[in-house]
Amino acid sequence: MISDTSLDDYVAVTARLQGFALDDERLARVQAVFRRNAGIAQFVMTFDPGETAEPAPQFRP
């Protein structure tokens, strides 16, 4: 269970880490988008696809 404030903190920290310079207004918009994304992502994370699903896209040398 992730609270909205820790999602917002994550966005602020990660955006900086990734080299984005965001003013307060831009940051707030991105945080709003990310909170929505997190709801959708949680829907993916709470599902157990079992062992048959390949763990990562296959690399062919």
Binding site: R29, N37, M45, P49, P55
Partner: protein
């Protein structure tokens, strides 16, 4: 504009018989574009010089008595994420105007040219393909020819509008989560999203490498099959291309059916989020194809969510540097979505790929005793430009992402789909005819069956 609409194959046949010339066809297309595109805004570039030059070459070949290729003299246009020699590949972004022009055509554009088709221009799209309405701040919206206050759909809105307005009979677009099927439905035309990896992506600007498909739009099934065949074939330069030999769709359509198609309608999720009109066209198509049962796929919402996470992560990563350097110049409609996507935790992305693999396996089992699945292509018909919200399934949802509700779970697992316009009063509305991987022949055969029954019909606006 006063002449009745002719299909690509009709034009090609007339050119081959000497009843018309490629040059005359190109001039007519250029005139139609000049007359109508000011309102529709499908085109971002008109390649008149190139088109006239190529048309003249076709005419010379004809005069020489050469055997002409199948689409000789047919004007066509391509979404502006395809490389066109001499043009900067815009991918819907004003920022790309400063990029060096492409040195050569995209592979699919070159193959269409090799088939004799004549390129007349590049077409409008949602910036960087992240959108379902072609509301492009930099280039203006692509308007629906059936009602210019409404969206042509996206992200290949220009491609669909150009065909629906009768400007050219065939165009090319791309589809990652629905960008061929959504505009086909809203504009009332045919579209084909082949199997993931079927057609080469070399020389096209990407969006989501794991999900991008390229494909044609047309006004009938025969044209769709002809374009698809012209573009098929391996391409060692594209690592995502499956390198399969050409499997002629036109031959498959001409062959005797053998057994009748086993068809089922998709219910559950595909009914819950559909408007009554969308549910009705799905039922009409299913009934006309002799479908007796309704199937509910498991965890469709989960597959859609997985495609969403994959798109956000890969799209965000692709544009990370541009967003760092030039946030202000980036399309306002999607820059925050791309930026948020670039922050996606790795576990979300990896889990989404696993869910995708799981869902693909579930659906593969369904195709053991079904040839074609029927579902609506969009939950509703074309909406007004600028619309933000929609009522679906008893809930208020954000409109733009919701247009892809029915397309996104299907392209998530790369199944071939023919988008087919179903004859109905009022605004156009289409269905998806979905087949197992590599069975484009089956979904095209189903489309042809609907066309012959008069259930599928493309109406050219103003024609």
């Amino acid at each position: 504009m006063s002449a009745p609409h002719r299909t690509a194959l009709t034009i090609a046949a007339a050119v081959a018989r000497g009843e018309t010339t490629a040059s005359a066809e190109v001039e007519a297309a250029l005139a139609r574009i000049a007359a109508s595109d000011g309102v529709i805004n499908a085109f971002t570039a008109v390649t008149a010089d190139r088109a006239r030059h190529e048309a003249a070459l076709v005419d010379q070949r004809r005069v020489r008595g050469d055997r002409l290729p199948p689409l000789a003299g047919v004007p066509f246009a391509v979404k502006n994420l395809f490389d066109v020699a001499g043009l900067s590949t815009l991918a819907g972004s004003r920022l790309h105007e400063r990029r060096l022009p492409a040195e050569r055509d995209a592979v699919l554009v070159a193959r269409m040219q090799a088939a004799g088709a004549v390129l007349v221009g590049a077409l409008n799209m949602d910036a960087y393909a992240y959108g379902f309405t072609t509301e492009n701040t930099g280039y203006g919206p692509a308007r629906n020819p059936h009602d210019t206050a409404r969206s042509a759909g996206g992200s290949s809105g220009g491609s669909a509008a150009a065909v629906a307005a009768g400007l050219v009979p065939i165009t090319l677009g791309s589809d990652t989560n629905g960008s061929i099927r959504v505009p086909s439905s809203l504009c009332g035309i045919f579209g084909l999203k082949p199997t993931y990896g079927r057609l080469s992506r070399t020389g096209s600007f990407p969006f989501v490498a794991s999900l991008d498909h390229l494909g044609p739009f047309a006004t009938d099934v025969a044209d769709l099959a002809a374009c698809y065949d012209a573009m098929q074939g391996p391409d060692p330069a594209d690592p995502a291309c499956a390198q399969r030999p050409v499997e002629s769709a036109r031959s498959a359509l001409r062959r005797d059916a053998g057994h009748p198609l086993r068809v089922a309608r998709l219910g559950g999720y595909f009914d819950h989020w559909a408007s009554p009109e969308a549910r009705a066209v799905s039922m009409r198509a299913a009934e006309a194809l002799g479908a007796h049962r309704t199937i509910e796929l498991p965890e469709v919402e989960r597959a859609r969510a997985a495609a969403f996470v994959i798109s956000a992560a890969e799209g965000g990563a692709l544009h990370r540097e541009t967003l760092q350097r030039d946030y202000d110049g980036f399309e306002p409609h999607n820059r925050d979505r791309f930026l948020a996507g670039a922050l996606t935790p790795a576990n979300w992305y990896l889990q989404a790929q696993k869910v995708r693999a799981w869902f693909a396996e579930q659906v593969r089992a369904v195709f053991a005793d079904v040839d074609v699945l029927v579902a609506p292509a969009t939950p509703v018909a074309a909406t007004l430009l600028g619309e933000e919200w929609i009522e679906l399934g008893g809930e208020r949802l954000p409109l733009r992402p919701s247009l892809g509700l029915f397309t996104q779970p299907i392209s998530c697992i790369g199944l071939p789909v023919t988008a087919v316009p179903i004859a109905s009063p009022g605004l156009p509305l289409g269905v998806q005819l979905i087949a197992a991987p590599w069975r484009e022949d089956l979904c095209l055969r189903a489309a042809l069956q609907l066309e012959r029954a008069g259930v599928a019909r493309c109406v050219i606006a103003g024609g």
